[in-house]
Amino acid sequence: MSDPDRPDPDALLRVAAQEGRGRLKVFLGAAPGVGKTYEMLLGGAERMRDGADVVIGVVETHGRAETEALTRGYEIVPRREIAHQGHVLREMDIDAILARRPGLVLVDELAHSNAPGSRHPKRYQDVEELLDAGIDVFTTVNIQHIESLNDVVASFTHVRVRETVPDRLLERAEIEVVDLPPDELIERLKAGKVYVPEEATRALAHFFSKSNLSALRELALRRAAQAVDTQMLDYLRSHALAGNWAVGERIVVAVSELSGSEELVRAAKRTADAMRAPWTALHVETPRQQHFGEEERRRLAAALNLASQLGAAVVSVPAETVTEGIRSYLAEARATQLIVGKSARSRWFELRHGSVVDRLVRSTPGVAVHVMPMERGAPAAPRQRRRDYGSPAAYGLTTAMVAAVTMAGSMLLHILDLGNVALLYLLPVMVAASLYGRWPALYAGAISSLAYNFFFLPPTGTLTVQNPENVVTIIVLLGVAVATSQLSARVRAQADLAAGSARQNAALAGFLRRLGDAANEEELMQAVCAEVARLLDLRTVMLTMSPDGPLLRAAFPPEDRLETMERAAAQWTLERGLPAGRGSDTLTASDWLFYPLKAAGGTIAAIGLARDDAQGTVRSDQIPLLMSLLDQAALALERMRLRDDMRGVAELRERDRLRAALLSSVSHDLRTPLTSILAAVRELRQAPSPALIETIDAESQRLNRFVANLLDMARVEAGAMKLGVEPVDLTDAVAAAVHDTRATLDGHAVRLDVSPGLPLVRVDPQLFHHCLINLLDNAGRYADPGTPIAIAAERSAGSLALSVLDEGPGLPPGREAEVFERFRRLEGSDRSKTGTGLGLAIVKGFAEAMGLSVEAANRGEPRGARFTLRFPEALLIRETGEESAL
């Protein structure tokens, strides 16, 4: 799979993740009483002597004097008191420790469950948070609390502990086995040196048998050795040393709704650890699942949840049978190891259905199949299997069909023989099977044979059969009913399943389409919330991280605030990228369950889910769909962010260009005329000269125009232009513009082709005036000397166009539209032109604000440029009501 000479990236990541984290040391014991706490306190004291800053987070001395003595000299962080059902529970105060920031903290009893209302339900989660914060932790745990060994220990001690610690903690920890030979431990127990809760005394007496203790001791030592092995392997891999480990193993564990599934998952975890292989928990959705009761759904969800907590990928595939589903998934995932449970099914079941395991072994060549016996465990709640027996109406209609066939048969009896009449009865059986399913079909078969017997078989009118040949007919009739109903029931089930998959695919496709419609992040988030809420029938919220904590961005149905607990859960999800809230293992008191939306750059948002009836949030069969939805949502969000970033960069660049252009324009266009004026004034002091006065006049005009343009540009930039729209006669507008530009259009005659009969136009006269002035100005600047400038109005269907035409070099072909950009002076000729580069941008800005469009083009003959302002029909005023006004 990977090149053995190259460092394994995963291993590198694991090692890298260690840097900056605190280091964990676990004092692992085989049983209570071996002296873990004592050893831990000794170890801490040693570190203190080396100059480390060590505090006690929590240490249970259980009143033992020698242990008690060791805690002296330590700073103890006071515990937090939590009121719970009238009791005051004293739990480790994780916030106080985080605030205190010691170098090392001692935390006893890693497997402890925190009081309800704590931040985490489990103490090991507190420890993980401390480690994440860069604080070293010493802790203690007994071997029976290790998640993956939980079943093994229970199998020989017959004592099951409910408090477990995930294996991942040990994988990163330094492990010190606190070892005590079984005989000595038993001695200590007898001497009363081992703390034993009173109610557990009897059970523990058995627990502390010598054989049990030996087995536990062996387990502890093996587990410690395995951890060392793991760490060694990580080291080897990250340093690309040739190691000897299995490559390319892929493990799949098939999870079902049966009660042993959790053990199966743990077994798979052990196998995966041993093989250092990725593993997947596979659940096959069969049509049977539709009849699952509440208990079965819960067990399935719990098993899948456990698998995901233990690091498995969770996959759910729909299939007609379990065997078929497993076989196709194994092929697709190129799995090498399959772990299945063998349920304690009845012999009868296996005879009828064949063993799933046998069929699997036969149908999956090349895959090693591990079969684990499923513990019977607590008997499952009485199976509330809801069978679809069909509605009363189905039976009524079936009966009617049989009656109709009987009547038809008796009428046709003179042309049909008895055997063919029997064939007629196949009709109601087939129809019932295909329309109503198995049971109505069997019913149809039964009453058909009865009716046939009663009405047609001699002696008619009785249910006795004379001719043995006819017995065969009845048997065939019933057999056909059974076979047809089975077939059609299966077809129906497959159709249901296919419909389910199709629904899910359609849901996903629809989801993506909705997301595609969103124009910005807010819309996208709102679309995600609305769609997830609709598809899963939940309430949803979406939050992102802001400097002030989680920020509510979208919700469906609309929600404007979240409770403190929910905010904390959301924050947890956003910061850690892990689920939090109801149904997760963090902040479970929250009404909402938060999932992270993860992208390449980390967690980008959290989505919160809640059900109105405050029941469990997400059904197990919804989890795969939810995960797909969240993946797609995260992708869409990330894509949108990237797009926005890109646009932001482009905008920034454009703004930089504008700023530079503005600076150069201001310095050039303001200074040049000022220079001329100052120079002319100085000359004038020497001798009066009309030519110099002309210069001053012209340059002042230029300055004035430039300042006016800067002011206009500022109005365009500000965006909110106040329009004073009124009916304007183009004759007036053109005349005013020609009048105001007469000084700057030196030497260019203006030709007007504006018919007086044109409709009035609805524009802001002032803005329109500025448009025309700038167009004339531009024409005057770029036209060849002495050529006329033309202003032409043209009425066409749907619009009115007013054009300014010059005779000159024109515009560079293909780049006509660029002239309207700010500070864009197109190099069309070799002459350097004195322009501000603002004029045409103002024309465009003003024109568009008024609802006009602008066009720039080259004219044919004579050569030159044509700038057109186009009035849409809506801005034109038809000359109606004129007579009445006059």
Binding site: S700, N704, G724, E726, P727, V728, D729, T731, D732, A733, V734, A735, A736, V738, L752, V754, P756, L760, D764, P765, Q766, H769, I877, E879, E882, A885, L886
Partner: protein, 231 residues
């Protein structure tokens, strides 16, 4: 001395005041100056101006407020000279009673022409003129006759009403509202398009080149004025 027309220049810019005073004095007017609103009100009784040149951006109060204040104390024609070029400012100033509006930077010659027009309007008493000739067209407001070279030009009643309003104060801007109020007194809505159409028809009948109007001239967004009046 008192026979010379008097002009009061109100502007907070000393350079502008100096320039205007010089120009006006050379043109034969008596000139008084004020740098703000308070000085202007104080100067009115002494200066007895016939024309006031008013800047709107004064340091102590807005020039627009000053227009009614001046009109209360004086019969001077008020000419606004301002850098503010927004249409609504112009219309407000004219509606408040200013006779004209010149934007800075201004052409000195044009300013003098406006001052002359304002003086003419003021000299012809409150009711305005009874007759005027502009661009070769004679307007007889008493007999409702409009002639070019003695030949009568036929105008509709509305056309005559509009042109009569303009001819009463030749050279002065008459705002759209003033024209609409005078000609369509019963219309409550302001149908500028009626006015535009009437003006267009008027130009067809009066102007030598209707595409380049020289007699009925538009003031963008503000109103119309009758240009080229002689005598």
């Amino acid at each position: 001395m008192s026979s010379l027309p008097a002009v009061l220049v109100i502007d907070d810019e000393p350079h502008i005041r100096r320039l205007l005073s010089g120009t006006l004095a050379r043109a034969g007017y008596r000139v008084a100056e004020a740098a703000n609103g308070r000085q202007a009100i104080e100067a009115l009784p002494q200066a007895q101006p016939d024309v006031v040149l008013l800047d709107l951006g004064l340091p102590d109060r807005d020039g627009l407020e000053l227009i009614p204040a001046i009109r209360k104390q004086s019969r001077a024609a008020i000419l606004v000279v301002s850098a503010r070029e927004a249409t609504e400012q112009k219309v407000t100033a004219l509606d408040l009673g200013a006779v004209d509006y010149v934007t800075k930077p201004f052409d000195t010659e044009e300013l003098l022409a406006r001052v002359r027009a304002a003086l003419r309007g003021r000299l012809t008493a409150e009711g305005g003129r009874t007759g005027v000739t502009a661009g070769g067209v004679a307007f007889d407001l008493v007999n409702h006759r409009v002639t070019r070279d003695g030949e009568e030009i036929h105008l509709t009643p509305k056309e005559f009403a509009v042109v009569a309003e303009l001819a009463r104060f030749p050279g002065r801007v008459i705002t759209h509202r003033q024209l609409l109020d005078a000609v369509w007194p019963l219309e409550h809505e302001r149908h500028i398009e009626y006015l535009r159409v009437v003006i267009r028809n008027l130009r067809q009948k009066l102007e030598a080149d209707p595409a380049r109007p020289a007699i009925v001239v538009n003031e963008l967004g503000v109103g119309y004025r009758l240009m080229g009046a002689e005598g």
